[in-house]
């Protein structure tokens, strides 16, 4: 008994491992990477550090180096706290840097077990340093936290596709599929999402507009409670204009706003030819707003409205596809879909890129209006 207790004490003393008390740490929560003029990377770290006297808990530091871990090393000279990356929730890459391929900067994200797989990735049109040092008029601990919440909320609202590290890596490694990320920019010194950035593998190529974002998502994923606005031809529903309305039929733009959007889609690649595919899309939604006085009690009016939406969506999908083809990217995964159903002439990461320009997709869209709100 005696010797065993002495032994235990010896072990406790000898087996101590270095402690990392929370108050001695600089806990990085967001990181931004920019390309400097002399082709190095400049990292901006947003971190929490807890000091006795300091009221503010957040700090932003920058450093230049050649690797992302190098940045941590370079910036650690600037703070008395030990920098750790176990709470990183957001990584922003400036698009100039992302053009060179992101994987080489992301190696440590995969390799280091301390880093969460659920952190968000984004690209930025302005240097990420400006983004992370920008004003934060919301009641958030810091701008990094604000951007992270912004992205999280947008994903939940199905306004942008999922942007966590896991899905990025997944799409990157899949043959016949390219990842996409939200793109950020500054609007009057406030960070905002301005679309999504398209990638060829890990190389950034283009940022799409908000409108195209919706159609890419329509192809890529299935909505459960999304929303969208669409403009129809002004006089498309002239026939069904309410008689008692004071407006003239077909007067003014016809905008339709759909909520509670629920979609299902199916991609059918043709046998043996990855460049020839058909895409069926079934949409259901609730009308929330329409800018002309249309008589929705009339069944035919509803049907006509549905037809018009189908037609417009189809056109927009085709347009968006042309943008994707133009930049030789495939965020939807047409190639992967082909691979899943064909044993011969399989696409690989390399040969799919050359085949994308000849990709042809037939869209077949059906839209069903479920409810029209509380007024008719």
């Amino acid at each position: 008994m005696k010797w065993s207790s002495i032994l235990i004490i010896v072990f406790i003393l000898a087996g101590c491992i270095p402690k990392s008390y929370i108050e001695t740490l600089g806990i990085i929560t967001a990181v931004g990477y920019d390309l400097t003029e002399d082709q190095r990377i400049r990292g901006t770290l947003v971190m929490y550090q807890f000091d006795t006297a300091e009221a503010s808990t957040s700090q932003v530091v920058t450093g230049e180096a050649d690797t992302s871990k190098g940045i941590r090393f370079a910036t650690s000279r600037l703070t008395s706290h030990q920098l750790v990356s176990g709470q990183v929730r957001l990584e922003i890459f400036e698009s100039e840097l992302a053009k060179r391929g992101m994987m080489k900067y992301m190696d440590t994200l995969q390799r280091d077990a301390a880093i969460s797989d659920m952190g968000f990735l984004a690209t930025s049109e302005v240097p990420s340093e400006d983004l992370l040092k920008s004003g934060n008029d919301e009641d958030r601990p810091n701008t990094g936290n604000y951007i992270q919440e912004l992205i999280k909320k947008s994903i939940n609202e199905e306004a942008i596709p999922n942007a966590v590290l896991t899905s990025f890596l997944h799409d990157y490694y899949d043959a016949g599929k390219d990842p996409i990320l939200p793109s950020l920019t500054l609007d009057e010194d406030k960070a905002v999402i301005n679309g999504i950035s398209l990638f060829q593998d890990d190389r950034y190529v283009h940022t799409t507009s908000h409108e195209n974002t919706f159609y890419i998502m329509l192809m890529k994923q299935e909505f459960e409670h999304g929303q969208f606005q669409i403009q129809l031809a002004d006089d498309a529903l002239k026939k069904y204009h309410k008689k008692e309305s004071i407006d003239k039929p077909g007067d003014g733009a016809l905008h339709v706003s759909i909520h509670e959007l629920n979609t299902e889609h199916d991609i059918h690649p043709s046998k043996g030819d990855p460049t020839n595919q058909s895409f069926t899309l079934k949409m259901e939604g609730r009308l929330l707003e329409i800018t002309q006085d249309i008589d929705l009690k009339n069944k035919e009016a509803v049907e006509a409205l549905e037809k018009q939406v189908e037609k417009e969506v189809k056109e927009h999908l085709q347009e968006t596809l042309q943008i994707l083809i133009e930049h030789q990217v495939d965020p939807v995964g047409f190639g992967a879909k082909y691979n899943a159903q064909n044993r011969t002439n399989r696409v690989t990461k390399e040969n799919w890129r050359e085949q994308i320009p000849s990709l042809q997709v037939d869209f077949d869209v059906s839209f069903k209006l479920l409810r029209y709100g509380i007024s008719e």
Partner: protein
């Protein structure tokens, strides 16, 4: 070599005095009755004087015939009598409250038991309190306690075996069980362990419990001590074996398993769903009590990654003013709570309550404001202390609180790995424990699904037709399930 009767009067009187160390309490009265010398002896505070005079002395003096031992036995209306010829046996009986009557020249003296014990009457239970259900607790008197038990379990099946333990000071011990139910092996184990004891005295039931339990090196109690007759009787009816010690208000029950320490009699009195819920609550609170503080220490010492982002800022801010590492901080606060508990227990009830308020609120608040501890830790410690008090068995609650300290140390040294190591060690330790030779972790190991009914959940009585398998009762079935479900209500379908 003890003195033997018959003796002369003088010799008898002096030797009795001698054997009682010249005790001034010995009353010796010599009657000259019809030519006989009748010596009446007793220790005056040990006997019931009214009875002595009415039922004994009056009859002896009023008779006009000479007395013989046989006549004494026949004529005197006192049931508990004995005849002895050894002097030290006589003295011992007198100590226990007998009146000794010796007719000079006879070979034996006659002893009448007229004990007069001072004891309190049945009171409300203090240490094990119930919201709901019988409130009576045992008293110090074995006879009263036996009376209570007999009254609760009025069946001839009830056995109350008598054993005498103690080499210097003897205590009467009773082994209580139902003959047709209790496993013979359990009874034999208890009987053998008690009768094998070679101790000078047995102070209390809890001492006896420690003397006969399976392992003395563990912090976990292996037998339950209770002062509640209903709890005792419930255990006996389940097929357990009880032990009563004279002069002790606590009773002992065995064999027990870990889960039975979290059973309260109230679980039975409440509806089954509430009973089950509260029992589960106790298990969860025990787990929390063991885990919470070590997790806090581990997270703040090593694993900042596992702290939710929303908590990170408030945790970090409150920690930044604390001058100690989290281990020390947690140990300090845990010590504070233990001090409060101990001080509250030692002080009279009224002062004790004030202590709790002073300690809990004033000290806690001041400690946070002085930057001594973080306020989140205060919440955690208070929660886990509270949780540890939910155990119906005081000893089990204490065991859980003691386990926390090494857990905190391990968490401070090796973080989550230390915690898991400690938990694994704890589980294996529990696995190795036994209660009266029966596995401590049953019904989980050995696995008895049927016993979960009673030990982990509290199923409705209608569904609990079988007795616990792990108690090895002689009669497994409690009642016929299909018959019990029959209802002869007028409006049944």
């Amino acid at each position: 070599m003890s003195l033997l009767l018959p003796m002369k009067k003088e010799e008898y009187l002096s030797s009795s005095k001698e054997l009682l160390n010249q005790s001034p309490d010995l009353v010796q009265k010599v009657f000259n009755h019809e030519g006989q010398l009748i010596i009446v002896q007793f220790i005056h505070y040990q006997i019931n004087k009214d009875q002595l005079e009415d039922e004994l002395l009056e009859i002896i003096t009023k008779s006009n015939r000479p007395w013989t031992n046989e006549a004494l036995l026949n004529k005197i209306p006192i049931a508990s009598t004995k005849q002895e010829n050894k002097m030290d046996a006589i003295i011992e009986q007198m100590i226990h409250g007998s009146v000794c009557i010796y007719i000079e020249g006879e070979k034996e003296a006659t002893l009448f038991a007229l004990p007069n014990q001072e004891h309190r009457s049945l009171n409300q239970a203090e240490t094990e309190s119930l919201v709901f259900g019988p409130q009576v607790s045992f008293t110090e008197s074995l006879m009263t306690n036996l009376n209570v038990i007999r009254w609760r379990l009025d069946t001839s099946d009830l056995v109350t075996e008598k054993l005498i333990v103690g080499e210097r000071i003897k205590s009467e011990i009773r082994i209580v069980y139902l003959k047709s139910l209790a496993d013979t092996e359990n009874v034999d184990t208890i009987r053998q362990r008690i009768s094998d004891l070679k101790v000078p005295e047995v102070e209390d039931t809890s001492v006896l419990g420690q003397l006969i339990e399976d392992s003395s090196s563990t912090v976990f109690p292996q037998l339950i001590f209770t002062e509640l007759p209903d709890r005792f009787c419930q255990a006996i009816v389940k097929g357990r074996v009880g032990v009563m010690v004279d002069k002790s208000p606590t009773m002992l029950i065995g064999p027990m398993n870990l889960f039975s320490f979290f059973e309260s009699t109230e679980d039975l009195y409440m509806r089954w769903n509430m009973g089950s819920f509260i029992r589960l609550l106790r298990f969860i609170s025990m787990a929390l009590s063991i885990i919470l503080t070590p997790m806090y220490v581990a997270a703040l010492t090593f694993h900042y990654e596992i702290i939710p982002s929303t908590l990170l800022v408030s945790l970090g801010q409150s920690r930044s003013t604390v001058p100690f590492p989290p281990v020390l901080e947690a140990l300090l606060l845990e010590m504070l709570i233990e001090l409060l508990r101990e001080a509250g227990a030692r002080l009279p009830t009224k002062v004790g309550q004030t202590m709790g308020i002073v300690g809990g609120i004033v000290l806690g608040q001041a400690a946070v404001e002085a930057g001594f501890t973080s306020n989140i830790l205060i919440i955690i410690i208070a929660l886990s202390a509270l949780a540890s008090f939910t155990a119906p068995s005081y000893l089990m609650g204490t065991a859980v609180r003691i386990i926390r300290f090494p857990m905190i140390l391990l968490a401070g040294a090796w973080g989550i790995i230390g915690i898991v190591f400690a938990l694994s060690f704890l589980v294996i330790h529990l696995l190795k424990q036994k209660s009266l030779g029966r596995p401590y972790l049953s019904p989980i190991y050995p696995l008895q699904w049927g016993d979960f009914n009673e030990s982990i959940f509290r199923v409705p009585f209608q569904k609990n037709a079988e007795r616990s398998k792990s108690l090895m009762t002689k009669d497994r079935s409690r009642y016929n399930e299909s018959k019990a479900a029959e209802r002869n209500d007028v409006d049944r379908l």
